[in-house]
Amino acid sequence: MPYFDYKTWIPRIVIGVLIAIFVILPVFTTSVITLSIFISSGIWTIAVMGFTLVLRTGQFSMGQAAFMALGAYASAILTVNLGMPFWPSFLLSGIISGIIALIIGLIVLRVGGIYFSIITLAFGELVRIFAQEAEGITRGVRGIIPPTPPTISLLGFDINFAAGNPVPYYYFMIILVAITAIIFWRIEHSRIGGTFASLALNQTLAEHQGIHLMKYRVIAFTIAGVFTGFAGAFYANFLSIITPFMFGLWQSIQIMMMSVVGGISSIVGGALIGATILYTLGIYLSRLPIYNIQYVVFGTVVVLVLLFLPKGTGLVDLWGKFWRKVFREPDEYEIPEESEMAVE
């Protein structure tokens, strides 16, 4: 393009600056609380991206937190019980979680729809109850304490994952979120994203256009399972404890709420906004003296978003709206009701 296309570049530059601020945040603050909030937000972002990807294929998973549990327990059991080093066990955690998602998907996604939601709900609880009851493997409600990741020596610096120093975990989170975001962004904006969307837009038509429903539903669910598993494994290592209560039904619902509030019109953007806002809100609300106030507020936020930003646009859509206001451009995709084409 011969001229500076400010309408696309200014929003991009603003996003770039925001990302840069996040990357160098530990330079300004090493406050454990601030960094911990961002680390946890990042972990939930990954889980929400997985949920939204599955939702993009028209399937509503109600047990995504179970895959975090699978990843967390897989990594912890491999290191603590089987003595595997940290990094291979971390890699395996996502793969194990993905394989289980694949198996569940192959069984349930044949029918899809409401049955898929019910089975994933049941599966989520099944994983939690198993973790609670199978004391020989998971130590039950006492939980497992995973070992801290080994110190990495890089360019003369020692990156020490000791408790009380959140900075290495912060960068670990940034890298994990970045890798996941890049992959999900590519999926969303490449051909396979369109194929996924076609399943949600019109399943019958998609099938008659030669799209194998099962295959693409299972692919989406498996990808979500893999990355949610990584998120879970990392979460467990960051908190240095895994208990069955960390990944229950409430956490699955929280993932859904984050997805709805952030918006599903952009997988990565919606997940980042939804997870960060709701997680931060939840932390500050839980410090108030009113018991369980965060649940009330979360519910209210979801209702407000659904009322004022319907059709899954969520808060991420405000970003586009804001720039269209700034540049005085009309909103996209408005059907001109009185036009010739619409009425005829």
Binding site: R186, I187, S190, R191, I192, G194, T195, A197, S198, L201, N202, T204, L205, A206, E207, H208, Q209, G210, I211, H212, L213, Y333, I335, P336, M341, A342, V343, E344
Partner: protein, 254 residues
């Protein structure tokens, strides 16, 4: 050797036979019209061929390979593509988006190649997009590609349905009442295009109520009534048969 062969196709809904022991051969390159009163089983026939329903009894062969019992996407991949009687759209997608997400069968590259946007994929994509634009231009909806498909008028939505079927690379095209809700000019425009599609070597099976369309375009006609085939032959001959007139207008009782 017929291209598409239906042997004793029966489709029961409960005890109601929507299709009863239908035998039908479709030759390569012909435009076969299927007519019949409402409820005679025309759409069920297309639903059975395209895999939307499984036949209760009987087998369907395509290129002498059995296709009955396959999934719709497998049948579409073999080259039997359909349109729908009511306007079935990708809700919320624009015309161009609908065409692009519906054109998976056109691509030769895998999802991996698409994910990494390899050279082969970019070349492939260029070809597909070119073909999409060409088709949209042929069917006069190129000016509205950025409109939501749901915002198009009924007639244009039908055209979009036909272009969607054509982008899936059909060898046999099943058209379920392509001209309903269109005015005369639009219907004749579609007829011309169906003829052109036929000339390009695509076999067409056409369900139609509009007799003018059938007489104009079909090379052979099959008449269905209550799930049975009651007549078959050249359009002009079939239309004058007493059973056909009876089925459409009732029996003379004088």
């Amino acid at each position: 050797m017929p291209l598409l062969e239906l042997n004793g196709i029966t489709k029961l809904f409960g005890k109601l036979a929507a299709l009863e022991d239908i035998d039908l051969n479709v030759e390569e390159g012909e435009i076969l019209g299927i007519v019949g009163p409402n409820g005679s089983g025309k759409t069920t026939l297309i639903n059975v061929i395209s895999g939307y329903y499984r036949p209760t009894m009987g087998t369907i062969y395509f290129n002498s390979k059995k296709i009955s019992g396959l999934r719709p996407d497998q049948i579409a991949a073999k080259g039997i593509v359909r349109t729908f009687q009511s306007n079935v759209l990708f809700e919320g997608a624009t015309v161009l988006e609908s065409m692009l997400i519906g054109s998976l069968l056109r691509y030769k590259t895998t999802d991996w190649q698409a994910f990494f946007e390899t050279k082969a994929y970019r070349k492939d994509n260029e070809e597909v997009v070119g073909r999409v634009i060409e088709l949209l231009k042929t069917f006069n909806i190129f000016n509205d590609i950025f409109l939501p498909a749901a915002g198009l008028s009924h007639g244009y939505q039908r055209m979009l349905g036909i272009t969607l079927a054509l982008i899936a690379n059909p060898k046999v095209l099943l058209l379920d009442e392509p001209t309903t809700g269109m005015n005369h000019e639009e219907a004749m425009f579609v007829v011309e295009n169906i003829k052109k599609i036929g000339e390009q070597g695509v076999t067409v099976i056409l369900i139609e109520h509009n007799m003018k369309v059938i007489l104009n375009v079909a090379t052979r006609v099959v008449v269905l009534n209550f799930g049975n085939k009651i007549a078959e032959g050249k359009p002009e001959d079939v239309m004058n048969k007493s059973e056909v007139i009876e089925a459409y207008l009732g029996t003379e009782t004088i």
